[in-house]
């Protein structure tokens, strides 16, 4: 595969995420990470993309009815798009607060639901947006620039 510097075209991958499947959870993020490694992306950037992809994937596994995650990779940026089919986030401002979580006791016992997922994603990316409404799905979009930071 070409190094990212020589990457002309967009490379896109999409993976389905199954709700409540804690055995496969993290596989989509792992595949995205492996792809970035194959493309020769710098390790610090890969780590940031891995954090964003993992946390986004886990949010869908833990909180949603299921969804999918996509990574769009160009020479300049890695865009991660994560969508689910509901039930939606009632209060996005709260969800973005460090330490705030609506995860159940069972989920917390597994070490999830620390209220760090969305803050971790936001810290990892140059661009961050989340759209959601009660009774609808959630759509998260982040962009990590190859040439900034790290």
């Amino acid at each position: 595969m070409p190094a990212v510097g020589g990457l002309d075209a967009l490379i896109s991958v999409t993976y389905d995420i199954v709700a409540n499947d804690f055995v496969r959870a993290g596989e989509a993020a792992s595949k995205i990470k492996r792809l970035l490694q194959q493309l020769g992306v710098e390790p610090g950037i890969i780590r940031r993309a891995a954090i964003a992809a993992y946390e986004a994937e886990m949010n869908v596994v833990i909180h949603s009815y299921g969804g999918r995650i996509a990574a769009n990779i160009t020479a300049d940026s890695i865009e991660i798009l994560c969508e689910d089919s509901g039930p939606g986030i009632p209060d996005i401002e709260k969800a973005l607060q460090e330490g705030y979580s609506t995860a159940s006791e069972d989920i917390r016992e597994m070490g999830f639901g620390a209220g760090m997922g969305l803050p971790n994603i936001r810290r990892s990316a140059e661009e961050f947006s989340i759209e959601s409404a009660c009774g609808q799905g959630t759509r998260l979009k982040v962009k990590i620039l190859h040439k900034v930071g790290d």
Partner: protein
């Protein structure tokens, strides 16, 4: 520090001879997966009491050197399988997490936290 030397010094099980060339650059201890995901540096040895397969997903994503499950608890079947699959050395010990970290520190392993 070499992982094999750590495994021997702490009498970690299983007794792995096959991890000779794995370098441990530091350590991290937490049971919150997002905390580890966000903060543990690559090549860290991660001490936890969590036993489910997602521990390995996180360890693999952050390029952890190894995972030690402390406190005498055994990993789930799926955790062992996944560890083997992705090549993350997974140890267990009867020692509580505090003791494991203390012994690692005495061996010269220092905490690693990356800035976000």
């Amino acid at each position: 520090m070499q992982l094999a030397a750590i495994a021997e010094a702490l009498s970690l099980s299983p007794d792995h001879g096959s991890f000779k060339d794995i370098e441990v650059k530091g350590g991290y201890s937490s049971d919150l997966l997002s905390d580890v995901m966000g903060k543990a540096a690559a090549k860290s040895i991660w001490v936890t009491n969590q036993i489910h397969p997602n521990v390995i997903a996180v360890a693999s994503l952050i390029d952890a050197a190894a995972v030690i499950i402390a406190g005498g608890v055994q990993p789930e079947e799926g955790t062992l399988k996944k560890a083997e699959e992705v090549g993350i050395p997974l140890f267990t010990t009867d020692l509580p997490a505090f003791e494991v970290v203390g012994q690692l520190y005495q061996l010269g392993v220092r905490g690693t936290a990356r800035s976000a």
